[in-house]
Symmetry: C2
Subunit: 445 residues, 2 copies
């Protein structure tokens, strides 16, 4: 299993994997990932970034066989998955593979659901292909991290293309060799830049991942080939986009240890390193029931990354999602941190703005990545402190199934699809026994 070119090893792994050998906990994680992801898509169905992508792509679509989430229309699988991936990842409220900061599901699941809807593949095949595609995506991501992202590559878009190609190859029943070529063809399509992340150009990279992953698998099915060393060769993907890959990260324990099982889900639509800030603030509010006016000042301590990203003036929604000040203010003033709490009315809310000004950031290098310590001083001089090492939704403190269902319902309600949320949850829950994805996709239409 572990010898040969990277794309060959992965091709064999994907082609030879059997659903019967997939442990129940993994099957459940696949459902959790997809539930979390689809909810994010429903929540932003009316966002102009999504409707614009749809408006452009609907003129470049073949037979309308694949559901565009929350839009009441279908497109061909490439076009539908382009729009759906953009929606599901739009707010970065979806899932995170922490070692790589890949959002694993958005590039992969939309491709598989669209292809399955077109061709009538059963639900279990989709879950199986998702786990395999996600595994390929995260393992290639591990092999090129951290140099890849540091050089400017939006790793969700780039490695997502591999994941979509590998997952589609499985769904199409390609041979090990064809799957290796699909992965190699993906290498010539992987793109997306960190520089563009604050703009809509980010969406194009994310949307292209499933769109081009489908194309890679279909071309490989028809005989298109790629170079054997497309990933690790001297002029291949890994070196072109960063450093020489650590190939052991691709092959070691493949099929025994699953990277996709290390997926995490966000309870708050904020940058993931800010979740500990919000958690600590929420806990202090619950503990003290202190009125905002009674709080004189707040100090948030964290590592260098937290400060580098989060010590900023908040002028817009994007700032709010990566602000120490806004996160602490939401926890202490509003006692919640949902989607609406990061939108413009919250950004310009005078109570939140005034409270943000009371919050100071402080470096504490003794705190690990992702942790935060919130200290508040009341007007009467008393101080209270809460340290969160592992926030809700972290790998160490995962969201429960019930919490994920609650998040799905919340997102559905935000998008105006509250009435259909239970149908979506039920369809996904039964997906491994479903003859096809019709019921699930109908609940999202």
């Amino acid at each position: 299993m572990s010898t040969g070119f990277a794309s060959e090893v992965l091709g064999r792994f994907v082609a030879e994997s059997r659903w019967d050998d997939i442990a129940p906990v993994l099957r459940q994680e696949a459902k959790r990932s997809i539930l979390n992801n689809l909810g994010c898509g429903l929540g932003v169905a009316k966002d102009p970034a999504v409707t614009t992508a749809l408006a452009v792509m609907r003129n470049f679509s073949g037979a309308p066989v694949a559901t565009v989430i929350g839009q009441g229309v279908k497109l061909d699988p490439m076009a539908a998955s382009f729009v759906n991936a953009i929606a599901c990842n739009l707010l970065d409220y979806d899932d995170t593979h922490l070692q790589t900061v890949i959002h694993p599901t958005a590039p992969v699941a939309p491709a598989l659901l669209a292809l399955a809807e077109q061709r009538g593949f059963p639900g279990a095949a989709v879950l199986h292909a998702f786990l395999l595609g996600g595994e390929v995506e995260c393992r290639i991501g591990n092999a090129v991290s951290p140099g890849h992202y540091a050089r400017g590559w939006h790793i969700t878009s780039t490695c997502g293309t591999f994941g979509a190609a590998a997952g589609c190859a499985k769904l199409l029943g390609l041979s090990a060799e064809q799957t290796a070529h699909a992965i190699g063809i993906a290498a010539s399509q992987a793109a997306g830049l960190v520089e563009n992340l604050p703009t809509a150009a980010k969406n194009v990279g994310v949307g292209n991942a499933p769109r081009n992953g489908i194309l890679a698998a279909l071309l490989a099915e028809q005989g298109y080939k790629a170079a054997p060393a497309s990933i690790e060769g001297p002029l291949g993907f890994a070196r072109a986009t960063g450093d020489a890959p650590d190939l052991a990260q691709i092959t070691e324990g493949l099929g025994a240890r699953w990277e996709i099982a290390r997926n995490t889900y966000k309870p708050y639509p904020a940058g993931i390193v800010f979740h500990a800030v919000i958690d600590a603030a929420l806990a202090l509010r619950e503990e003290l029931s202190a009125a905002p006016d009674s709080i004189a000042s707040v100090t948030v301590a964290g590592d260098a990354l937290l400060l580098a990203r989060g010590d900023r003036v908040v002028n817009n929604e994007r700032d709010a999602r990566v602000s120490i000040h806004h996160g602490a203010a939401l926890g202490l003033v509003r006692g919640r941190a949902g989607v609406a709490d990061f939108e413009m009315p919250a950004v310009t809310d005078p109570a939140l703005a005034a409270f943000r000004a009371k919050v100071a950031a402080k470096l504490d290098e003794s705190l690990p990545r992702g942790a935060a310590r919130v200290t508040l001083r009341l007007a009467d001089g008393r101080e209270f402190q809460r340290t969160v090492l592992h926030p809700r939704g972290s790998f160490e403190r995962p969201m429960s199934d019930a919490e994920l269902e609650g998040k799905f319902r919340d997102n559905a309600a935000i998008g105006g699809f509250h009435a259909r949320a239970d149908a979506g949850i039920a369809a996904l829950s039964g997906l491994d026994g479903a003859p096809d994805v019709t019921r699930l996709m109908a609940s999202l239409a």
Copy 2:
């Protein structure tokens, strides 16, 4: 004109350019580039690499409004330009911008012709947009060369995406700001690896350039934005794919000195550094009329690049196109080097195989890049020598309009379209006065 972010400077240049200000020599070069390119597409219309791309893409196409060259079908502009770019660049027999080794026309012209066919844009608008798109493509290519290709980036695919986006932006009449965003959105889609060049995966990168360039322009038209420093920023295109860009190469003399006017066309479907070998061998054959049997040995001298790429055993068509031995043999044995002379019957022709064994390669560092010296020794001991510094088709010795028309006819005949070659030449010749591209595209259908 020359201050601001790179995408802004280019956006203003493209949006503000007026056809009336374009010199006749440039207009003619646009026609020469497109004639040369379309002929290459006609020649390979029956190649499985092309028909496979069509077979996959026809299931993912909207309304069939854009001609697929030599296939008798139309697809939507994205799908048609994907197939057409693959065809026009398949054998690398198309054009070359020597400073960057970009094939400038294949990623740009198919996008423009498809969009023009869909929307009824006039011929002059296509020629104008081609010059502007090609200029953006070559100037960004200059700015990232040589580090970009050396790192593994197939520069035709990557920079071609920018060229297609900029050209489509012009055709659509986008503002300077929208054009800058289209260029920035292209940055998040630019992909294609040198490692994959010996395989069909190369085609996918080339085909994606116009397909994604169209998408970039249409999304920018609808309001999608990109980061201002998408090209030169610390996490932008240039640094992610190589070194810091030499921004002066983008802006210096923009609109006064045209990089696209430095385009060159190949008389032989071989790697461009082998053209001097073929020319020298052809000249010696003409001079001596020596029968192959009377030639005892041949020595080909050239620089390190020629030897590194061309001193090889010839097992297949790809080897033949980059072989010192095959090039010399064609010149001296067959007295020609057309498309058929690099196909499998020529590879396995016993006369050519025997002659290739008589050819030795020798390093001569005094010879410049692209030059060659061929020395032949007859069986009777006499020696003859010919040195070619600038082969036919080089910038210093360009192919004439008549030679380009002859190449177009040859290519059309190879593809089985001999009867329509004159109609295509006439339509392209009159393109600047044509109300639309209907006549041209009908001649290629």
